[in-house]
Symmetry: D2
Subunit: 214 residues, 4 copies
């Protein structure tokens, strides 16, 4: 982007910070085997983002903040195929029991953590995710996963609308190509989310807890 | 994007065509005065997209296909401010009666055409737009407006989810900067929408009608 | 209800007919083993409604109109328990593989028919049901199932909102107690739905097809 | 209802209490002039419920708990008419500026309180109400208004689904006829809400605050 292009966002007042709220939850979007495999839906910087998320997940679990995961799940018999599977037919391989549709082993969900099954990009779309967040009185949704320009971004846009401040963790999201990854990070920072890297976010949450405890 | 980056989308089976359905509607997203004015929320290639949309709108009206417009509308007293107006505070100027929030004069809505008032990016989000499409038995949603990487894209992602094939008209959508415009066109073509320019779309719809009449 | 009470609905203009549209679909709400069993969630006039629905389903299949079924499905590990399962804890027995949560044998779904898994009363709530209706260009939703004052009614209220004319088939819906059944039929007729019995509806649809063919 | 009919709900495990949460909000559903006027949409026990709600509203304001109101608002030109206005055409009189569509004078909204404009029964349906509740970290929704068997009930069913414990205040809700009022109170108590009268609820909230302060 040219300097004058970046300047227009600033002059028009985009990109303010929302700040961290009081009650964060973590969602790990589509870090399943198929999105970690360049032969299926992976590639680019997805695998390093998976590895970095291990650290973030450990912190959330240690703090006892709620954790959720998303998976695409389509029916074996094709009865719930939709327009997305018309556009990207290969997604239909992601059925309940296909191992490539399961969360990667580094991030295996624990009992009591929520698994959101979805048929579209956003974790919120036609799922019970927003109701789970409401019941937990969450106000800040930390978003990691794949791909930055797809399910991560769609989840972020919906989180903002549903009233949950979206935090995108820049080194815990990845995409099969770097240009869409970078373009979506720019768009999200300007319009939909606050951006932190993993170390910054952990430090900010620790500091907030310390302040709250005083 | 590098050649190898583009290649990965092809090898993974993205970007299939959904094709035109039987019943199209047109939505003109946020082509209001403020988004046509570089001093407010405009710039880039938005104005040429407004001008090109005049032609497309005339065709839809002549064919008696349903037409809808979107506007951001926030309350004068700030009572419905939300996370988006925290992130982009200037949007709060778009109230019911502020002239800069009204559809541009070139595209003035006619009686009976729907105006969707919204408080988030997508035309579908917490609005009656999907119900209007359902009642009209629409199956194909032609999307124009501003900005490509914002409300247009969010509308397209939701249209796909709600079961309406999204068609993005490439010269009838615009953005305040060209890089985000191009990046979102790429993403939408790969994952969420079929792309036509205005002339191609009019020709395709005419041809479809001709075939149907035979 | 007293005569003067009934009169107020008429004088205030409630209860107009919406009429049959052009494209009907059938939804069979929660006719699963547990709702057909008075020891679990059944009783009242539910079983006769199941038996009558056999006839209606055969007609819809013969006409090749789309057919959908709903089931409550909760996770084995309780991770998706919600406020409804707080209010009615026994519903948690309805898991993916518990035979009492499956559609009754008289109405066994066929391949290609949609099964909507849900965690709340309405077939529409946080499910892909509205998108399936939109993709099929349905405009009229024929509703059968159990219970009249619960999932049937919630589905009807949402169908109206989403833009699909709800038809309640009075002898194909049932409830564990007759008073709530009757009260909800009254409310739906006044405010949300047109009411037919099974024979009337089949005759009306046949007649409409005959007229359309002329 | 017969004794054996009531008994079946108990034996099947319906009607457990959800209890008060930590953060309540009040919604006043459709207490507008037209629903307080028996010649328009009123009658029955609606007016006494309006009067009782004055007391509850004063308590919520004094406690600084969030307060919201709902109104039906349809466009002057009929462009947003929907299936509900097909079923109940008179509702179309409730436009933005028609005095009969405004909240009754006893309960006039104050600046900063939310007014939810809606086109269907539920306060949640295609509105920003759930997002406002989420941003306020509400977990308990106290519901008053008219009519018990219509917009109150639809709002309660959606509140449960969206993750906000619904409390129905029995003497602050009213209906144009008593039989539907009573039937919906029964249904809601069994399946969707906890019931309190106004005095009980105020006492319970005061006691909860006292316990929390100790």
């Amino acid at each position: 982007m040219t300097k004058s292009e970046t300047a227009i966002f600033k002059s028009q007042g985009f990109g303010k910070s929302m700040g961290l709220g009081e009650a964060p939850a973590l969602v790990i979007v589509d870090f399943v085997v198929a999105f970690d495999d360049p032969k299926l839906f992976g590639g680019g910087n997805i695998h390093p983002a998976v590895e970095k998320t291990v650290e973030l997940l450990a912190f959330f679990r240690q703090q006892k903040y709620p954790v959720a995961y998303t998976r695409y799940v389509f029916a074996e018999d094709g009865s719930d195929g939709n327009l997305l599977t018309t556009k990207v037919p290969n997604l239909k391989i992601l059925t309940e029991n296909n191992p490539v549709g399961m969360v990667v082993s580094e991030l295996t969900p624990r009992p009591g953590e929520l698994i959101v099954r979805k048929r579209n990009a956003s974790a919120f779309f036609q799922t019970d995710f927003s109701s789970w967040l409401a019941r937990h009185r969450i106000d800040t949704l930390v978003v990691t996963g794949a791909v930055t320009s797809g399910c991560v971004r769609a989840t972020v846009v919906d989180a903002l609308g549903y009233g949950y401040r979206p935090i995108v963790v820049t080194d815990c999201v990845g995409d099969r190509a770097i240009a869409p990854h970078d373009a979506s990070l720019f768009d999200m920072q300007q319009k939909y989310a606050d951006l932190y890297n993993c170390a910054e976010l952990i430090a900010a949450l620790k500091n907030r807890n310390k302040v709250a405890a005083e």
